[in-house]
Every structure is written in C-alpha cells, then in structure tokens.
C-alpha cells in the first residue's frame, strides 16, 4: 500500500488537485492534437509550392500560370507501368515553357523530350523514388530506397530499357552497345534483351588452334603481357599476367597447336634482305590492294591510319612468320575458315612483295632479346590451367579446351542490381553507376584474385559502357510488351550457288550488307539489282572505283575473271530487286530531247543538284554525292525516278533528301540524268 501512496503523492506534487490535473492533461492533449496538422502544414513540398506562387506572382502571364497551378500533393499513377510519381508536387512548372528563364530547381520547365510526361511519368527515365514527398527521399540514397536518381550523363540508359533499336537521339547508348559487342564483353558475360535476344560480339577473335604456324612463342608471351604495347588499337584486354604465367600460357598454346593444310607457297626473303625497290613495290601494293580499308598502320608521324575491321599492322613483322604470311595472303581461309579477310587472288610475285613489305614492319624494341627456354611438361600443364582459369576459350578456339558456359556473371539485370548485395571498393561512391564505372576502369581494385582483365578505354567509352549496362534493368523486363522497340532482326543470310561461293570467297559480306546480314562499311546491296545496270555492274566488279569524290575508295580489286564477274552480276541483277517497282518500268529511249533540256534546267536551277553532284566536271563542284557524269550508264531510269521521289525508302540513312518532287519534274530530271552516258574520264586523265 505504501507504493500506491507514494504514486499518489508524486501525482499530487506534479499536477496539484484534480481540477488542475484535468486542466494540464487537457492542455497536453491539445498540444499533441495540434502537432499532427502542424507537421502537415510544415511539409517540405508546401514550402516549394508557396515559393512557386511567389515566383510567378510578378510575371506577365501570372494569371494563366496561376490557373494551371494545382496545389496539394500531385501524383502520376500508371499501374501498368508501375509508376507512382509525386515529383510534380514540387516540380510544379515542368510543362510551363514560358518559365524558360527560370534556372532554380525545382521550378525549371522540363526541356523538350520525346515522350509525354503523362504517358511515362518521371522515374522510368530519371529513376529515384517516385512516391517520395521529400527532396532527400526522392533523389538520394536512403535506407528504404537505395538507388538515387540517375545522373544526367547516363540518362540515355533509360531509353535503352524499351529501345533495342538504334535511336538517333541516343548516341551514347548506341556507342555503349557497340563497345560491349566490339571489346568482347559479351563473350564472357551474357546480356539478354527483354525480348530474349542474346547480345553477340562484333569482334573476330582469331582461332589459336594452329597458332604455332603463325607466330613465335616469344611473341605470344609478349602480347599476353601487354597487348597494347604491340598495337595501341588492340581490343584484347590486359590480363595482368606475371612473367611465369605468360611463359606457361605461351608454352601451352604452342603445345596444343596443330598443323594446318599449308599451301606451301614460295617464302619471301626476310626483311633485312629486301632491296629498296621491291620494298617500294610492296608498299604500293599495300595501297593498291586497299589493305588500309580494314587494317590500320601508324604513319611516320605516329598517327594511326586505316580501318579497324582487321588487326593493326604497325608491328606485323615482329609477329607473324614469313611462311605463314605468304599462305595467309594467298588464301586466308585455309588458316581460318571464318576470317573476315577476303581471298585476294594475288599471284605469287605479288604475294611475296606484300609479305616482304609487311615483314619489314617490325619493331625490334617490342620483342627485345627475349628468348624462352624450351617448355617443360609442368609448365605446359600449368599453362592449360591458366587458360581454363582465365577463360581464354570464351573468345578463342583452342584445341582441347571447351568454350566455357556462364564464365562471367550474367549482366542482363545489372542495371537493377541491389546495392546491398554489392561490395564497394574503398573510395567508390555508393551508387550503381559508380560501381559499374569502377568495375570497368579498375576491375582488380575489387580483389586481386578477380578474373576480369584490365581494359584500356577512353573516359567517353566508359561512360558509354555504363549507359548501356544501366539500361539492363528489371523494369525493362516487366514493362508492357507493346512498349518494346526491337532492334533489327538477326540474319544469317547467305547468297546461294556459284555466286554464293564467290561472295564467300571474296568475303563481300565483311563490308556489304545483304538482307540484314553483313558489315556496314560499304553500301547495302539488298536492292542493288533494281538500282544498277548489269553491264556497268560486271565492269565495276572487274575494276571497282569510288563513286563519291569525297570518299576514299575502299573496295579492293579482286582480279575477278570475266566469267566470275558475269556470274555475280547476273545473280545480283536477278535476286536483289526491290518489290516496290519494276526495274524496266521506264524506257529511257522514249525520253525526248526537250525532256532532257527541261531536266537540265531543273538540275541547275530549281533543285540545284550541282551543290552536291558533278555532271559537268569543268563546271560543277559538288563534293558530297556520287559523280553523275556516267550515271545514265550506271543506274536504271526507274531507280533514278523513285530515288528522286523518296530516296530514304530505297536506302534508309542516305544523305539524299526526300524530295517528293512531282512526276513531271522527276521525269525530266530522270531524262537528263539518263542522258549522261559519255565518259569524260579521258578529259580528267589528260590533266
């Protein structure tokens, strides 16, 4: 009972008698009740809305801005997209173009964008926590929502959630996807698009099954040590191997190598014995064969000149064996059936000259005086273990080593990887973008035992890669199928028959695309048969030339025979025709001289075609489009006519504007162009 008494006395002491106790309790209750509305009244977003109203008060269009302003919590709710965005509660002026001069957030109007705010909301593009109503929770990483909003430079990643196609407005995303394909990322990592397509590589890692025939063990070891020391443009990353590791891997690669059916051509003299004259001839042959369309070489000034379809050849002489080089130049398919290098049809003298020139491209500093002692069985065995561990067979064909499955983590959902499951290296800010960037830049900073090699990439390339990887989100998989924009369907098209063999032999599809398959260095030939005349095509195949003055010619001359040229030309003329129109629908012999004259006026007057094309080499200077001096002998009349109407539909991405010109003008211009059959080349040649 004494306890009860004690409580009562404390009660009395604090609250006094019953009446004052009732009074103070009521007061406490009132205060407590007032806290709730007060808390609501002082919410952050109310402050912003008041600030906005003050901001627009003095403006000329205050009345209409005021009318459009909606107070209170705002929400964009789209259950089918999973969007609950309250961002517009504070970002009150997203649609107010007249506030373009306002630079303070959250009141800036949204810059122009390809989608409507009301159709997609905010977080599908910007990420962050849409339902939050405080600045901190919406934008930053909090306990309940780890991933903050996406920094502006990666914003194109969000486009990539739906768009698998190449959008013109997302150059960084496109570059990132190209880089993933070109630098071999997708050969170890699986990256699936939401429609189930697995991203494939665009590089061509060479097979190593006959490597001992091609190069020396010393070169392999030096290359493994640092590929970029041999060729700055090499896409093979640096595996950061120790000297004994490169020694053992090179030992294994030499040991597993098998002979291939060599052609046993005549071996050119070693570089030191090359006389200056034949070296000069070899240099010219390198140029005449258009090797630089695909291969790059450093010039005297140290600039890399040439294409990147094949490996850089600056130090080729330090790499390949002379006998192999002759075989390779004679017919590359015998060594690598899947190579992109064409069969050049050089004679043995030319092969020798070219091989001599390439052999002279050596760098004594690269290999130095390294001599590896004969390999022991233990070293070879260790080399094989290393090859298995490092996943070399993910890219390269190696005897006795299978291509590993799921060698590296699947990156299909890397853009949604939960941060709590990521171990951050010290010093890396805790965001997904920073994690991916650090992984790409310094993979081994996450642990020296990790397998991922070190790439040499420019900062822009890393940004692009991050953008492409951040597009691989969970959301992309769950968005409605109707929103998906697929990329071009993968195609394995190959032409058939004798022509198909020729196309395969000269590897036309390394550069040209036909029916969705092939390279993009040279024009798409899918509708070539509707475009050109058969006789011109056969002549061109025998002696290709560039049609555009502003372009460097890249098509090599393959020394095709008349019969081969005719087979190819016949096939192209018959098979590669557009269903849109008949090649022979316009008979150019029925054009009257008046049509030609009228067309000439239109060419030089109304349409000013001479600003891009040359018809009269003495007068016209247009330097963009193909030269048209002989266009009447090259193109069909119906192609020209349709081209003048809508060139983009015939060849998407062409520079020719869509003229949509009336039939009369198109007819007259076609007549004028079909009359350009003369060969003023001779005049040029006389210069």
């Amino acid at each position: 009972m004494s306890l009860l008494k004690a409580i009562r006395s404390v009660w009395r002491y604090v609250f006094g008698d019953s009446a004052s106790a009732f009074g103070s309790l009521s007061a406490a209750l009132l205060i407590l009740l007032a806290v709730v509305p007060a808390k609501d009244y002082f919410r952050e977003w109310r402050g912003y809305q008041k600030q906005y109203l003050r901001l627009i008060r003095g403006r000329g269009d205050a009345t209409s801005l005021n009318r459009r302003f909606q107070g209170g919590l705002q929400q964009i709710w789209m259950p089918e997209l999973g969007v609950v965005d309250r961002c517009t509660t504070c970002h009150t002026a997203l649609k107010e173009a007249s506030l373009a001069d306002v630079k303070t957030q959250p009141f800036r109007p949204h810059p122009a964008m390809p989608h409507k705010l009301t159709e997609f909301g905010c977080v599908i593009c910007h990420r962050g926590q849409g339902a939050a109503t405080t600045v901190e929770e919406a934008h930053s990483s909090t306990k309940s929502w780890e991933e903050p909003i996406l920094p502006a430079r990666y914003l194109e990643a969000s486009c990539g959630q739906c768009h698998q196609d190449r959008l013109l407005g997302t150059p960084r995303l496109n570059q990132g996807r190209d880089t993933l394909a070109r630098y071999g990322c997708v050969r170890c990592h699986t990256i699936k698009s939401p429609d189930g397509l697995i991203m494939s590589g665009s590089d061509a890692p060479p097979p190593l099954e006959h490597i001992a025939e091609k190069t020396t063990r010393e070169w392999i070891a030096a290359w493994l040590k640092n590929p970029q020391a041999y060729a700055g443009s090499a896409t093979m990353p640096n595996f950061q191997l120790a000297d004994d590791e490169t020694r053992d891997i090179s030992a294994f690669l030499m040991a597993q190598s098998t002979p291939y059916p060599s052609l046993k051509g005549p071996v050119p003299a070693p570089a030191a014995n090359q006389d200056a004259a034949s070296l000069q001839e070899g240099t010219s042959l390198y140029g005449q064969s258009f090797c630089s369309s695909c291969h790059a070489m450093q010039n005297a000034a140290g600039m890399l000149v040439g294409g990147n379809l094949g490996p850089e050849l600056t130090r080729a002489g330090s790499k390949v064996k002379a006998e192999w080089l002759v075989d390779w130049l004679t017919d590359p398919k015998t060594y690598d059936p899947d190579t992109r290098m064409p069969h050049y049809r050089l004679d043995s003298k030319q092969t020798g000259l070219l091989a001599g020139f390439l052999a002279s491209k050596s760098d004594s500093d690269f290999l130095g005086t390294t001599q590896l002692a004969a390999a022991t069985p233990a070293q070879i065995e260790h080399g094989k273990t290393l090859v298995l561990e490092r996943g070399c067979a993910s890219c390269h064909a190696i005897n006795g080593v299978k291509k590993p499955e799921n060698f590296a983590p699947d990156l299909t959902l890397v853009g949604s990887r939960p941060l709590e499951k990521i171990l951050f290296a010290p010093g890396v800010p805790h965001t997904l973008a920073d994690y991916i960037g650090a992984k790409i830049r310094q993979p081994r900073s996450f642990g020296s035992a990790l397998k991922m090699p070190q790439y040499t990439l420019a900062p822009q390339q890393v940004d692009a890669l991050e953008t492409a990887l951040l597009a691989q989100t969970q959301l992309a998989q769950t968005l409605p199928v109707t929103l998906r924009v697929p990329g071009p369907a993968p195609s394995n098209y190959r032409p058939a028959g004798k022509a198909g063999q020729l196309v395969d032999d000269m590897r036309c599809l390394s550069c040209h695309k036909i029916n969705g398959h092939g390279g993009d260095m040279a024009p798409d030939l899918t509708w070539e048969g509707s475009s050109v005349q058969g006789a011109w095509l056969a002549g061109f195949l025998k002696n290709p030339n560039t049609l555009r003055p502003a372009l460097i010619r890249r098509m090599p001359k393959f020394d095709v025979t008349d019969a081969e040229a005719n087979i190819l030309a016949d096939y192209i003329m018959t098979v590669y025709q557009t269903p849109a129109f008949d090649r022979e629908s316009i008979d150019s012999s029925r054009f009257a001289p008046a049509d030609v004259e009228h067309g000439k006026e239109l060419f030089y007057g109304k349409y000013a075609c001479q600003s891009c094309h040359i018809v009269d080499p003495k007068k016209d200077k247009g330097y963009i489009g193909p030269t048209l001096t002989q266009v009447g002998a090259r193109l069909t009349a119906s192609w020209i006519s349709h081209w003048l109407q809508d060139a983009q539909s015939l060849r998407p991405g062409t520079l020719e504007p869509v003229w949509k010109m009336n039939d009369e003008d198109a007819r007259a211009l076609t007549a004028f162009l079909m009359a350009q059959k003369n060969a003023p080349r001779k005049e040029v040649a006389q210069k």
């Binding site: 810059p111 964008m113 430079r153 000013a608 869509v658």
Partner: protein
C-alpha cells in the same frame, strides 16, 4: 518537427564534415611563380552532353606583365552548376600552361567556367570560358546536323569528312553564327529547313528537308543552333505588359 530538426542537424553535420574534409584535403600547391594575366590557349566553346566530359581539355596560360609565359604559377578553376574539373587547381608547367579536363553540369545550357591566378601581391587575374551542355534535344540536333548539315555548313574539312562549304556559290552560314541566326525566329529557321532556300527567295543550294526530317528532328536542329550560337541566343520570351 523533431525529424525535420534532426534532418537539419544531419545536413549541418554533413556540411561541416564536407568542409572539414576539404580543409584536410591536399592543400594548394605552393606557387613558384606569379603572373599578371591569364589567357586561354584552347578548349573554349565546346559542346558535350549534359553531365559529360568535354572532348578536349581546357588549356590556359599564365603570363607576366610583359606577356611572357610564367612557369609554376597557381591556377584555379571554378564554376557553378555542378561543373567538375580534373584537376581543379595546379601549377603551370614549364611552358606556362595548365591543362584541366572539364565535366559539365547536369542541366542543359551554357556554362561559364572561371580560371584564376594570383600575382605576387595576392591580386587575382582571371578569365571566363564558355562551354555548352547539350540536353536530349540538342544531342538529337547534333546527330541530325552531323548527317545532313555540317558538310556544307561547316567550312572545316577532316580526312573523314571533306567539307563542301567552298564548292557552293552561296555561303552556307556556320551554325555558331549568332550574328545572323539570332535575328531569325524559330519559325524562320523551321521554314528554311523544311522548304529550302528556293522556297524563301534564297539560294536553291539549300535543299528542302521537310520530307526528310521529322518535326521533332527539325525542332532539335533549331535547339542545337540556339545552344551553339555565338553571341548567345536570347529568346524573345514573353513580354510583361507592365514593364
């Protein structure tokens, strides 16, 4: 309320933390030389995507009062709007130059960055350097421009892209030519892009792109012109009746 106070305290703590961390960071390098003026060598008026690094670094040079380069002078870079520098301060090299890589802020538009140096008396000399951050629309505009426009509108030739500018009888305006382009309204520009020169009494050498480009592409192109224009373009905006 309590939570808000707590929030403020956290912010205050974070700020003190951030400040003290900076204070503890590497101190300014001790200058070995002092110049009187700072001049720009290269890297101004570049355009890059929002939040991205400029393609070329910004290079400035410190000169003394006679115009000779000063080695070892302290150069500091600063800018508002989330621009970052790598590095943001340092000493000039033996050629008197200092090079930094610049990443622009996350909002599209013009950014002015300031480079400063001090003379021996502690007086500051500096310059402002303008750069442009391209948003989605301007980026699209630049892509369109690279495909369809620059061959005639850019007089500079590269081995990959030979300029056609000098082959034309009418001189195509450079896209940075604010003196001419700022005087044209968006509607004027849209008209000449869509209908070509001939439709507007100008040279027919400018073809009509109305059927080639979509409306958003044309708008994007115009936004690019506005972003690149030099002197800067100022929108006529909405006039306030009371002013």
């Amino acid at each position: 309320m309590n939570r808000a106070w707590l929030g403020w305290m956290v912010v205050a703590l974070a700020m003190t933390g951030a400040c003290s961390r900076r204070a503890r960071g590497p101190a300014d390098p001790q200058p070995k030389g002092f110049g009187a003026a700072l001049v720009l060598v290269s890297g101004e008026k570049q355009a890059a995507g929002v939040g991205s690094a400029l393609d070329q670094p910004v290079v400035v040079q410190v000169n003394d009062d006679k115009g000779a380069a000063v080695a070892g002078a302290l150069v500091q870079f600063a800018a508002a709007g989330g621009v970052t520098f790598d590095p943001d301060r340092g000493l000039t090299g033996s050629d008197g130059q200092f090079t930094t890589n610049v990443s622009l802020g996350g909002v599209h538009g013009r950014y002015r960055i300031f480079a400063t140096t001090r003379n021996s008396a502690g007086k500051t000399a500096g310059i402002g350097i303008d750069e442009v951050a391209l948003g989605y629309q301007e980026t699209l505009g630049r892509q369109v421009s690279d495909i369809h426009c620059v061959r005639c509108h850019d007089s500079e030739s590269t081995p990959e892209r030979v300029s056609n500018h000098d082959n034309l009888s009418a001189q195509a305006h450079s896209f940075t030519d604010g003196a001419v382009l700022n005087a044209m309204s968006d509607a004027d520009l849209a008209a000449i892009i869509s209908h070509g020169g001939a439709g507007l009494g100008k040279s027919a050498e400018m073809p009509p792109y109305g059927n080639t480009l979509t409306k958003p592409e044309t708008d994007a192109l115009i936004s690019l012109l506005r972003a690149l224009s030099d002197p800067p373009y100022r929108s006529a905006g909405i006039f306030n009746a009371s002013q």
